[in-house]
């Protein structure tokens, strides 16, 4: 499918086309000093001309000198709040006269969302949660229904944020799959107080996306326009705020459970759980069983949970992960290591949210890099000990030589 070029006004057409098809539109909008996701009525509610400055433990929105609609990266929210809501009633049950009960067949309709402005890291994060909730022997039915209905308008990132490292995680700054439509926003810097209007390159990722095209206007993009988009994305990959060397990382973490370096983040971590709430792939949840006042009705509610709580690992007698160190280690090793064994992908897409929203400014990339470096040093020392020495041909660790 050829790339198309759209004017900024095409976004209004896109919103209209999606609304006519019955979608509830959700996208980024400025709210209380942060760019969050919310239900939107029109493209004018996008954070036009805003961007943000992000660093470890730091987030601030600032004005841009152009009218970019997508001139920022990701904020504190993730799309999971629409696909896997923070609280969801799973079922209700009613007690009968004979000491029994029955599950009520509540009609369960899920909203059909169109997500507008899904960044490549988040497209990958949704694919990861797909694996968690739908890739195993048992499928999360509510998630499956929400996911089947969702329309995804992804937006590539030409300006990565201060905590982004999608290039390291191989998820961005260009989305490769998992969207219905994909936009690349091209905007020139404002000149002489004139704010430039962006234009868009549009790629189609599905039949559903294709079907919308005729309503969006625009024209086929010229080769030089496509090349300009590619150039900006290639440049973006080199401008990541953070990097992470993932080579052998999962194995290094697996071998580093006893590393004392975990003490450092543990000493700063407040166990607030912000990182897990902000993370677009974190999926841990708990259930609450309650009754109404009469005791005749009971219901089960599923809620987001966090591995930073004691309750998550509680078994009779006490939590398994008592120390903060063990809980931070669980989180980091899960994201970048054991997730692979559990679900066949990394659990981290490099969106940087956990770094930005950590009140203690703990930087995941820095912590695991330190662990990996120390695991590497350990391995080198071990190798030096058993490597044959040039004179004797025997290792230093060889009992015969050392004695």
């Amino acid at each position: 499918m050829a790339v198309r070029r759209l004017e900024a006004a095409a976004l209004d057409a896109l919103f209209g086309a999606l609304r006519r098809r019955g979608y509830t539109l959700v996208g980024p909008t400025l709210h209380d000093g942060a760019i969050v996701y919310d239900e939107l009525d029109g493209a004018d509610q996008l954070p036009i001309g805003w961007t943000e400055v992000q660093d470890a433990g730091h987030y601030r929105v600032v004005r841009r000198d152009d009218d970019a609609r997508f001139g920022y990266t990701v904020g504190p929210y993730a799309w999971k709040r629409y696909l896997h809501p923070p609280a969801l009633r799973l079922w209700r049950a009613e007690r009968d006269a004979e000491g029994g009960f029955e599950l009520l067949d509540d009609a369960h309709e899920v909203p059909r969302y169109a997500f507008v402005g899904v960044r490549p890291c988040d497209v990958a994060a949704i694919a990861i949660q797909d694996r968690v909730f739908m890739g195993g022997a048992h499928v999360d039915h509510d998630y499956q229904a929400r996911r089947a209905g969702a329309f995804i308008v992804a937006v590539n990132c030409t300006e990565p944020g201060g905590t982004c490292f999608c290039a390291s995680m191989d998820t961005g700054p260009k989305a490769r799959a998992g969207y219905d439509l994909l936009l690349t926003e091209i905007v020139e810097p404002g000149r002489n107080g004139q704010r430039a209007e962006p234009v868009y390159l549009l790629e189609v990722g599905s039949e559903r996306g294709e079907e919308l095209l005729s309503e969006l206007g625009g024209r086929p993009a010229r080769d030089d326009e496509v090349a300009e988009g590619e150039r900006r994305l290639a440049e973006a990959a080199d401008k990541m705020g953070r990097t992470l060397d993932t080579h052998g990382l999962a194995d290094a973490l697996r071998r580093s459970l006893d590393n004392s370096r975990w003490d450092e983040p543990a000493a700063r971590c407040l166990a607030c759980g912000n990182c897990t709430l902000a993370c677009p792939t974190c999926f841990c949840n708990t259930v609450e069983d309650t009754t109404d006042l009469t005791g005749a009705f009971a219901e089960r509610t599923r809620r987001w949970d966090s591995c930073f709580t004691h309750d998550l690992s509680y078994i009779h007698g006490g939590p398994v992960r008592v120390s903060l160190k063990s809980r931070y280690r669980q989180w980091a090793t899960h994201k970048l290591g054991t997730w692979m064994e559990q679900f066949g992908t990394s659990g981290c897409v490099g969106c940087g949210r956990c770094i930005t929203w950590c009140p203690a400014a703990i930087d995941l990339t820095e912590e695991v890099a330190a662990i990996a470096a120390s695991a590497q040093a350990r391995a080198t020392r071990r190798q030096a000990r058993v490597a044959p020495s040039p004179e004797t041909g025997k290792g230093v660790g060889d009992a015969a030589t050392t004695r």
Partner: protein
Amino acid sequence: MLQPPADRPFAPPPAVAAPDLDPMRTVPFRVAGLHVDNEDTFTLELTPPAGHELAPFKPGQFNMLYVFGVGEVPISISGDPDRPGVLVHTTREVGAVTQAMRGLRIGDAIGVRGPFGSSWPVEAAEGRDVVLIAGGIGLPPLRPALYHVLARRERYGRVMLLYGARTPEDMMFPDELAKWRAMFDLEVHVTVDRATGNWRGNVGVVTPLVKRAPIDPRRTVAMICGPEIMIRFACQELARRGVSPQDTYVSLERNMKCAVGLCGHCQVGGHLVCRDGPVFSYDQVERLLDQGEV
């Protein structure tokens, strides 16, 4: 997205037969039988509602049992896998849900989801010696394996049960234990932490029983259930006796909310206990359990 390293490939779990049933919906069974085993332990016999066929289970599997409005907890099946139509669970009362479960009467409803999880390797153990090691409330989850083996006794070599309880009164299934002890082709050794009354048997933890048992390491498949600390000591002793960790199976307990791999609570390193366990060969989890707080 980053993929797993080549030497640790990801094998997706097999699909279940009826994936269209919402795995979080519980089915109201009825309490058909109720037996108080001792001070804090009780056994329930449950029957399914009309029209609901009871799924067969494998020894070592568990169900999520739900008490109306109170909560839901994982409990192993303690009954005979060859006896269809009734589901047997033996539970120790330790907190909110198990206490409420203890309050159920014959005819009351209890929600059941399952069966879930991996099982004791009773089929793979054919032709081998079977050593079952249980601590306290760890005997009920092993009982289905023992039933299975005894029903096919000729297929196995030596069969041994080593069981430790806190006191003689805490011993599970005393009548059956007596019956088992009287069997000529089953060796039963029991011990108590603390002798009371006219106890004349072994006193102490279960590890010395493992040390003394006539185990042939090359022929043995061991299956262990009990408190984690007891599991670790028993496994260490078995290893000392030459039984390989691959032939040593343990059942792990972790907090579980969904039992179907969707809630994240039961992680132990790269394993989800509900999905990959609760029964593991010891080589899969030894390093993690030794580390602690994993």
